[in-house]
Each structure stands twice: as structure tokens, then as C-alpha cells.
Amino acid sequence: MIQTLFGSLDEEKKPSFVELMKEAVSRTRESLSERLEDVVSIGKEIDRSTLDDLEAILISADLGMATTEEVLQKLRHKADRKQIRDISELKKLIKAELFAILTTTGSRPITKVNGTPEVIMVVGVNGAGKTTSIGKLAQTFRSQGKTVLLCAADTFRAAAIEQLEIWGQRTGTEVIKTKPGGDPSAVLFDALQSATARGTDYVIVDTAGRLHTKQNLMLELEKMKRTAQRIVPGAPHETLLVMDATTGQNGLQQARQFTQSAGVTGIVLTKLDGTAKGGVVVAITRELGLPVRFVGVGEKVGDLLPFDAHDFVESLFN
């Protein structure tokens, strides 16, 4: 018996449905472009219903309804007037739309201004890939011949400090830390002071994962920002929101809240080595104008790439 809002009911066993679903899912795994060809080759003419099917394709990449609708609305208009001739033209148009959204940002590459250390704060929900991305980022800067200091301000999660320390060893980067449970702002203070004294090029700050709905934890980020500002004027120069590519529409909410509290300036999209497309960043960029800076494509030190909007859009279709 199942209790529902409307009373109780007997569970129905429907094994056949599970079977049906399995079948549906194996179909999902065909690549997007294959399906796109399917869709478009149904009839010679591309019409409204073709575009409706395209909707499903964009949604399955986690673009969300609003963004998908916006992208398709323009094409729908053209299709109504039979202005789109063939598949390749249709594809090109969709890609151009997505590309336009992704590149309409306040993007600027992470650059170092001379003198003071460039402070990069890394934030995000639990398990998104912050610490790993920091390790990879440290490697990127190190290979450019820069000096880097890591700040272990995740004092909350079990063994988070040790995890960052291992990345420090892997990349030949020193880690400034405190004891587990210590004050994140205090260790940030220490890290920025040493960095200033030593003339370090970059300080990358690891923070504890937190859900954007936890007000007190979001306030903690605000406090950390103020601390950084006090020691290094203009810091943090970059606040990167790390987002797991498997994230669905909640990613938008994450981006909104973290931007509000921590002043996010860019996104690191991780775990793109899986099957998830990470399309929610299109929705985020569309609404908040936040650029995607880097993508994570694995767990090794070299698995971080600068974001390339063109490649990303292509990847949505194959």
C-alpha cells in the first residue's frame, strides 16, 4: 500500500514498462547528430514538427526549456516560411545560435597584473570537482612558469586538506592550511599574507562544497571575499564556479545564488569526459552572462582545457 496525498492505493506491477524504458534509453545513447539526421530526413522539407523533434534533442543536452525554446523560436519562424533548405543549413543555424549565446559574455582570460598576487577563489556545490580542478589549474600556471600558492580553505569536509595537499605535491605547489574545522577566512588571511610577502603570482583558494540554499554557508563566502579584499586590493580577481556537467536545471539556480553571494566571474565545467553534455551552461550564460573558462575532462593533472565555445557547440551534436 502506498500512502498518497489523496489516500492510499495498491502498487501496480508493470514490468513491461521497465522493458519499454530500457529500450527507450538505449535509443538515447545514439549520438545527437545521428538523431538529428533521423529527424531531418523524415521528410524532405523541414517543417514545424521537425523543429519540435529538435526540441527533444536540445533538452536531452540539459539546455532547459527556456533556452531551447528561445533557440528554436527563431528557427521555427524561418521553417514556417520554408526558408531553411536542408539539414546542414539547419544544423548550422542551431550551432550559430548556441555559439552566439556562449560568446556573449563578459569574458576575459585569466591574466596576471604585475605586483600583487592574482587571487582565484573556487566555489561550488559538494562533489562538483573543485579540488581536482584546482590541482589541474595549478599545473596550468606552473607550466607557464608562474608561482602558485594553494589555500586549503575547505576545513570542513573530511580529509579535504589532505586531498589538496596531494595535488600540491603533484604540481610542486605549496599549500597553506590550518587544522580541520578551522576558520576558512583565517587560513585565507594567512595564505594571502604569505603570497604578498613572497610575491607569488597566483593564489588559488579551495573552499568547502556547499549547497547554494544554505544561507549561513553562503554568508561565509561573502566573509571570505571581504577578507581577501582587505589584504589584496581587488581580490578575489576571479571567482570560479565549478559545475558538474551532469547537473540539470538546478545548475541555473546554483549559478544565480553563487553569483549573488560570491560574485562568480566564470565557470569551470567538469566531468565532460562522461556522456553528459553540460548544456545547462548555455542557460547560465544566456541568463547571467557568465563565461565558461575551463572544462574538466578527466581526473589527471593535465585534464583541464580552456573553454572553446566552438568545440563545445560541436560536442553537443556528436
Binding site: K14, R27, T28, I59, G248
Partner: protein, 452 residues
């Protein structure tokens, strides 16, 4: 955008008045809204399509009821269908007839396996078991260290062992050693925390399979993040194909994700969602209740947890008495009003309670109002009522000007505040009387609260 799915459905059915049955045509707009709501909640679009087909099949041909509006009627069909899809409450583990029972944790990177392993050990401990933890994640930096800290925090046993090379042979050795350790130390459940892995990582999926062969686990739990989007079907399906999962744990449910992945995962694996993770503390593990998450997916609030919470904290008989009094309007005295305030206080903050109500229908707007409620105001109200004599509390009409002055002085408030309270109280009585009328009661009857 679908906080008001209920409203949208009401609107969709505006023109339906007078029609006797639901037809494909007259529910089309409603189906569109439901589809939207499900997609925005991250339910996989194939799953949505299927659900919509089934919901439509059930709805079409139904007579339009008089007790419920057509919108509510459709919501009920949707709800029922989703609850059926999600299956029964299933916070149960299968135990081996010959201990140790082995629980194998599986999932993608960052889904919450290690924390969940700790929570599960804690839950088992509280249930009188003796769990042993082991981490065979020899790959992620400090992963094994993390589980050790967790085990210490909850005072659970852990088998540490040693890692030479980080490879599958080491993983298998650790697993074997841990099982032996469980037997030797009289632990009846072995929880095996594994490295996060991608479902398309063949080498690591093979490793998972050999772990399964080696340990012959009673439970293989797929730990999945509640924030997962459309891809949930792909990973869940692949893990299930390779391992034949026995259950699912949905983590990070303390956030504001709609949790549509629950439906997707349940559909492709056919396996029950056994637990949900609702926080970073080790006791933040709860049994899964399909009816609750359905409310959440549809954006209709967590009515049932409200009721459960109310039930466990409120003196039931008293609540019943108050409700009866309130609904008839007569005899709802200031004394009762104070009782009610105290009950509310016992349940937690007003905001947290109202937050659990659905933001639709009768409750619409309450959430916004709750944000504005000043809890200290409740204290002042109680202080005012405390300063009244017993006679005054039961005969509010006797409270004249001089009594008001005395009450204000006694409670450290102003006469104006006392006046305000009395005015509000009078309004409340009137409102309750209104609610006691049959039409309102009939509408509420459509939403049966079990056990209330």
C-alpha cells in the same frame, strides 16, 4: 515557473465547465503544462513522454468530478501515476543469512558515496548492527583518508589495510582482507566504499564487476546526485546493466533540486530508491517516500513531511480539539489561540513550517507572507495573552479600555499592540467560521491528509 502548476492547470481548464468528461482535446493544454513541469524538474524527456502518454490514457474518458476541479482531478492522476512509478517506501536492506552482509556502494564521481557510506554505517549502528567500513578507492587523492575520518566521527569500525600500487589487484586484495576482518571482528555488515567512476570507463566498470564477483554483495547501491539532469538515465542504465543494482540512494536532497532524476533512475533500473541524503551530518539519511518527492517534482510542497512533523510533535488530541473549535468558529478562545501558538513554536519556526506547504491553492502567498513574519512578534503576542486573566482569555468581549491598559503594562507592550491582537483575533474567529462552512470543507476533503 511551475510553482503554480496548480494555477496553470486551473487556467487550462477554465473553459471546461459544463463538459462532462475529460477528452484528449480538453486536457491538451494541461498535458503540455505537466510535460513542462516534469522537464524543468529534470525528468528525462523519454521518461516524460512515456509518463504523459500513460497519464493521458488514464485521464481521457474520466468524468469530471464535482468534488474536485478538473485541474485538481488531473493533478491527482499525475500524482498517482508518479507515485506508482516510483514504487513503495523501501528503506530496507537485504541481510545475508550468513553474516557478514556486504553492501557495495557504486556511482559516479562526486555523487556522495563516501559520506553516504558513513551515514549508512551510522544508521546500521543505531539499529543495533556492527558495521565495518572499508574504502577500496585507491585512486582519488585522500579518499581513504576521508572514510577514516568519517568512521572516527561516527565511532564505526573501519578496515584500513595498506595500498601498494593503485590498481585493481590492490582493490580486490583490500576487499578480501576487509571481509576476513569483518568475520574475525564479529561485524555483521561490511560497507564497501568504491572509487567514483564513469559508466563508460570500461576498465573501472570491469573492476566493479570483479568486486561483485568476489564479495557477492546482498546490496549494490547506486549513489546518485539529486541535481543530476537528463544524463541520469545513461549512467544508471549502464551501472545497472553491468552490476544489477539492488537499490538507489539519492543524495543532496537538502538543496532545492526538483529531483526529477529519481523518476528517471527508477524507470531505467526498476530498482527502489531506498534512502535520500539530506545534509552533510552523518544522521542526515532518511527513508525515501515517493509521495513526498512527487510533490516536490511537481512543485507542490512537501505536505506529507509537514503532516508527519506535526503529528510527531503536536499533542494529537489537543490539535483535534483545536481544529474542531476553530472550524466551528465558536468557542475558539484566546486561551486556545495561545495554545496554538505554543504548538506552532514546538514544531519549529513558522517559516520552516510554511515552507513545507505547497505554494498553491489555499496556501498560495503564505510563503511570501511567512518571510515577513517576525518571530519576536509571536513572543509579544504570547506575552500579551499571558498577562490576561483566565476569565479574560475566555471572554474576549470583556476586555475593555482599562483592562487593555493593565494588560499592556503587564506584558511590556503598548495598548495599541493589545488592540491589534484583539482585532486580529476577532478576524481569525471570523475566518475560521468561514472555513467551517461546508463548501470549504468539501474542497479540503479532496486533499485527504492521512492520519489527520
Amino acid at each position: 515557473m511551475f510553482e503554480n502548476l496548480h494555477e496553470k492547470l486551473q487556467r487550462a481548464f477554465k473553459s471546461l465547465r459544463g463538459q462532462a468528461v475529460l477528452t484528449e482535446e480538453n486536457i491538451a493544454e494541461a498535458m503540455k503544462q505537466i510535460r513542462l513541469a516534469l522537464l524543468e524538474a529534470d525528468v528525462n524527456f523519454k521518461v516524460v513522454k512515456d509518463l504523459i502518454d500513460r497519464i493521458q490514457a488514464k485521464a481521457v474518458g474520466q468524468e469530471v468530478l464535482t468534488a474536485l476541479s478538473p485541474g485538481e482531478q488531473v493533478i491527482k492522476i499525475v500524482r498517482d501515476e508518479l507515485v506508482i512509478t516510483l514504487g513503495q517506501d523501501t528503506a530496507k536492506l537485504k541481510f545475508a543469512s550468513q553474516p557478514p552482509t556486504v553492501v557495495l556502494m557504486a556511482g559516479l564521481q562526486g555523487s556522495g558515496k563516501t559520506t553516504t557510506s558513513g551515514k549508512l554505517a551510522n544508521w546500521l549502528k543505531n539499529g543495533g548492527h556492527r558495521p565495518l567500513l572499508v574504502s577500496v578507492d585507491v585512486y582519488r587523492p585522500a579518499a581513504r583518508e576521508q572514510l577514516k575520518v568519517v568512521a572516527n566521527a561516527i565511532k564505526a569500525n573501519i578496515y584500513e589495510g595498506t595500498v601498494g600500487e593503485a590498481n585493481t589487484a590492490t582493490v580486490e586484495r583490500l576487499a578480501k582482507e576487509a571481509r576476513r576482518e569483518a568475520i574475525n571482528s564479529g561485524c555483521d555488515v561490511l560497507i564497501v566504499d568504491t572509487a567514483g567512476r564513469l559508466h563508460i570507463d570500461e576498465q573501472l566498470m570491469d573492476e566493479m564487476q570483479s568486486l561483485k564477483k568476489l564479495l557477492n554483495p546482498q546490496e549494490i547501491l547506486f549513489v546518485a546526485d539529486a541535481m543530476t539532469g537528463q544524463d541520469a538515465v545513461n549512467s544508471a542504465d549502464e551501472f545497472h546493466k553491468k552490476l544489477t543494482l539492488t537499490g538507489v540512494v539519492l543524495t543532496k536532497m537538502d538543496g532545492d533540486a526538483r529531483g526529477g532524476a529519481a523518476l528517471s533512475i527508477r524507470q531505467v533500473t526498476g530498482q527502489p530508491i531506498k534512502f535520500i541524503g539530506v545534509g552533510e551530518k552523518y544522521d542526515a539519511l532518511e527513508p525515501f517516500h515517493p509521495d513526498r518527492i512527487v510533490g516536490r517534482i511537481l512543485g507542490m510542497g512537501d505536505i506529507l513531511s509537514l503532516i508527519e512533523k506535526a503529528e510527531s510533535q503536536i499533542d494529537k488530541k489537543k490539535a483535534q480539539e483545536l481544529a474542531n473549535k476553530a472550524l466551528t468558529g465558536d468557542g475558539f478562545s484566546l486561551e486556545d489561540f495561545r495554545d496554538q501558538l505554543r504548538q506552532v513554536r514546538k514544531m519549529g519556526s513558522l517559516q520552516s513550517i510554511i515552507g513545507m506547504l505547497p505554494s498553491v491553492g489555499a496556501f498560495q502567498g503564505l510563503q511570501k507572507a511567512a518571510d515577513k513574519v517576525d518571530e519576536s512578534q509571536i513572543n509579544r503576542v504570547e506575552a500579551i495573552i499571558n498577562s490576561m486573566t483566565g476569565y479574560e482569555r475566555n471572554h474576549h468581549e470583556s476586555i475593555n479600555g482599562s483592562r487593555r491598559k493593565r494588560i499592556a503594562r503587564g506584558s511590556g507592550t503598548t495598548v495599541q499592540e493589545v488592540n491589534n491582537l484583539l482585532r486580529q483575533y476577532a478576524q481569525m474567529r471570523k475566518m475560521f467560521k468561514q472555513m467551517g462552512k461546508p463548501s470549504f470543507a468539501r474542497r479540503m476533503a479532496g486533499m485527504k491528509f492521512p492520519g489527520m
